[in-house]
């Protein structure tokens, strides 16, 4: 019985290898599967690969660089034609680029951008993503526009904007740039921003909710003029906490504008209900499509100009962010 089972398993394995030998295989590593944004990203990659007749394999890095490195090794052994890597820790890209270079496989980084000096060590290393600072800038602009159009948003009428910043995982590139550029954008709009508090909530709704609950108690919602979150999940957590203090329940007199990034389904829902001011769409669909088209063009050696996305500096494809506010998403 056992022997038959093992035999069957072996056949299955051989069969699966044989079946996939004909089409081009893309090996793709995602930093963590249960990330809402990366989910849209990988759905878009799967759809585009299917359309172009390639096979894409996806691996869950479980937010652990060591695991991801092993996955890349096994992809190379398996003989994939091109790698698409959503690296866990962008500062450790060098060994991965070296691996791809040694194997002679092109590598496309997505979503998390390795430093340019690392990308420069291999001519077939590329990056597809959005400029993180742009998301921060647009978040800041959303808040600044609201502040200008609603004089009552300046609750203490001091002409300055007292805000709370909810940050993602410490050291994450998006966290650093979004935090910085959202404030810059408010400054550039001619409003003086005052950070009354900030906290790291690790992109997480529950953590953000608990932290914001504390701020609502210690600072008082009547003293908070805006909440800027590095992503939507944290913005939604903050909104739950504000609702706990009877804010953002529809009454304009008890409202704090909250902005996030990602435009995920829950955020759009909250915006329809008037609980959330706005969000910035990180265009996963276009990024996924661009990554797959670029990867296949690299694997086939075809002209990179034909993929429909502009390549800058021979290394990057930049997909712009989009602002999303109430009323646009129904």
């Amino acid at each position: 019985m056992r022997k038959i089972f093992i035999l069957a398993l072996t056949f299955l394995l051989i069969f699966s290898f044989a079946a996939s030998a004909e089409e081009i295989k893309i090996g793709s590593c995602i930093y963590r599967f249960n990330d809402a944004f990366m989910l849209r990203f990988r759905n878009s990659m799967s759809a585009e690969s299917e359309k172009l007749g390639a096979k894409i394999e996806l691996a869950d890095g479980q937010d652990n660089q060591a695991i991801q490195n092993e996955q890349i090794d096994s992809y190379i052994l398996e003989g994939v034609k091109v790698l698409i890597v959503n690296i866990v820790d962008r500062m450790t890209a060098q060994p991965i680029i070296d691996k791809a270079k040694t194997a002679g496989i092109p590598i496309v980084f997505i979503n998390r951008e390795p430093p340019l000096e690392m990308l420069n060590t291999y001519d077939k290393a590329y990056y597809v993503g959005a400029k993180a600072e742009e998301s921060g800038t647009e978040e800041g602009e959303l808040i600044a526009d609201y502040f200008k159009n609603n004089p009552d948003a300046d609750k203490n009428h001091d002409g300055k904007l007292q805000f709370i910043m909810l940050k993602g995982q410490n050291g994450h590139q998006d966290m650093i740039l979004r935090s910085k550029y959202s404030v810059e954008a408010i400054k550039n709009a001619g409003i003086e921003p005052v950070e009354i508090a900030s906290a790291i909530a690790n992109w997480d709704k529950l953590q953000a909710m608990q932290i914001m609950n504390g701020f609502a108690m210690s600072i008082g919602p009547e003293n908070i003029e805006a909440v800027i979150a590095n992503n939507d999940e944290m913005a939604l957590g903050a909104i739950e906490a504000l609702k706990n203090s009877d804010y953002n329940k529809g009454d304009k007199a008890f409202y704090i504008p909250v902005v996030g990034v990602d435009a995920n389904a829950s955020a759009l829902d909250a915006m329809d209900k008037g609980e959330m001011l706005g969000t910035v769409l990180n265009d996963a669909d276009n990024q996924g499509t661009a990554a797959v088209r670029l990867a296949l063009a690299l694997a086939n050696g075809t002209d990179l100009k034909s993929i429909g996305y502009e390549i800058t500096d021979n290394k990057y494809i930049w997909i712009p962010y989009q602002k999303v506010t109430r009323g646009e998403n129904k």
Binding site: F33, L206, Q210, M217, E233, L268
Partner: protein, 407 residues
């Protein structure tokens, strides 16, 4: 060496209590005219409650109870035995000075609300600690229950439903399904421990990994594909967010429904532990397993019961967590078991089994939550919070162990 008789102690308690009470009442009426509203907030109300508590305690003290010996040694013992509690009181005073907003009734209620789910977790895990075991799967069960319940309780109009064609089911059904799912894994825990005599540490570790995997598989099912679950039905969200008596007086935020839920569960667990045969068996198995076997206690059935009951409580905590945040991901509850174990230990539950009281666990959870909440309140860096939390656990266990050595 001076001994204080009960009558004297009684008088001491009553008088001190009444003084605090009167001070509270005086401040209550004086704070508005003196312009202290924004300086002391609800401090008078707290003083009144504390004063009342002390006065009642003094008043109800029976003769012969609580003989107090005043000596250096007794004082030292008192200090070490209550070190964590005293540290917490000092911290609370410091926070009140640094950030007077801490002295609000709504802050106290918020702390109680945050303690509620933690208390339910701790009450579940205490059963496994009482038999000198542990349960590492508790946190993941919270995640499982929150994902399962939330997945079936989304509004019909939400764009990204977990089950697009699921009709609006009765509220209790998904909740029961979620809790039963947890209980099945609880039964697996109990089976591994009872049948194979596996150490609970490793048995529940294995089950923890299984639950996380299973929950992630469920969470990753199309069309959801690991999206955070949102669009929670308002009636379900109410289960975690509803506030009772919110119109009691102006500015009263209301009592979160989580508090009475936790109180009811607390009473039920107290009853089970102290008034039922099952409860006595738990203590007996924890105290001396061989003796329990000799005494004819069915260890297999009792251990199964312990893990199933515990997982039922984690399930409830998970459902409430989903309702409270109006959402769920498979990462919910991650690490909760360690917080719950720590709270139990601080509350006097012995890791070597057989010792632990519901009252102690309530204290442990409250102390932990107050310290954590307070540190966050005065904006202490999360990294320092971790350090402090660790020190508390180490000190609590050290005190616990020295107590037994003395005996």
């Amino acid at each position: 060496m001076a001994e204080i008789q009960t009558s004297k102690k009684k008088r001491l308690f009553t008088v001190c209590g009444l003084i605090v009470l009167l001070l509270g009442i005086a401040l209550y009426f004086a704070k508005a005219p003196l312009g202290l509203n924004r300086k002391i907030y609800d401090l008078p109300i707290f003083l009144i409650i504390i004063g009342l508590g002390f006065a009642c305690k003094g008043f109800m003290m029976k003769p012969g109870e609580g003989e107090l010996v005043l000596s250096k040694k007794a004082f030292g013992e008192f200090l070490t035995n209550n070190a964590i509690l005293l540290a917490m009181l000092v911290l609370v005073v410091v926070i009140c000075i640094l950030q007077p907003r801490f002295m609000q009734v709504r802050v106290a209620l918020d702390i109680l609300t945050q303690s509620s789910t933690k208390l339910i977790m701790a009450l579940g895990i205490c059963f496994t600690l009482l038999i000198a075991g542990t349960d590492l799967s508790a946190g993941r069960m919270v995640g499982l229950a929150s994902v399962v319940s939330a997945s079936m309780l989304q509004t019909a109009t939400y764009a990204n439903r977990f089950f697009p064609d699921l009709p609006q089911v009765q509220l209790w059904m998904p909740i029961v399904i979620a809790i039963v799912a947890c209980m099945i894994f609880g039964a697996l825990n109990g089976f591994l421990v009872a049948k194979f005599d596996m150490h609970p540490f490793i048995a529940t570790l294995a089950v923890q990994v299984i639950i996380y995997g299973a929950c992630s598989l469920y969470f990753d099912m199309p069309p959801n594909n690991s999206q955070p679950i949102g669009g929670i039905r308002p009636d379900f969200a109410q289960l975690g967010q509803m506030r009772l008596l919110s119109g009691l007086y102006r500015g009263f935020p209301g009592i979160s429904i989580l508090i009475p839920i936790a109180v009811v569960i607390c009473i039920v667990i107290w009853f089970i532990l102290n008034k039922t045969v099952f409860g006595k068996n738990v203590y007996a198995i924890g105290g001396n397993r061989e003796a329990a076997v000799v005494a004819g206690i069915n260890v297999f059935r009792n251990i199964m019961g312990i893990f199933i009951l515990a997982s039922c409580l984690y399930g409830i905590a998970g459902v409430l967590e989903a309702a409270r945040t109006a959402g769920a991901t498979n990462n919910y509850g991650n690490g909760y078991e360690l917080d719950a174990i720590a709270a139990c230990v601080v509350g006097g539950v012995s890791l070597s089994g057989g010792i632990g009281k519901v009252g102690g666990i309530v204290m442990g959870v409250l102390i932990f939550t107050i310290i954590q909440y307070g540190l966050q309140f005065i904006n202490v860096s999360p990294m320092w919070q971790q350090v402090i939390k660790g020190v508390i656990i180490a000190v609590a266990v050290a005190i616990d162990l020295t107590k037994y050595r003395r005996k």
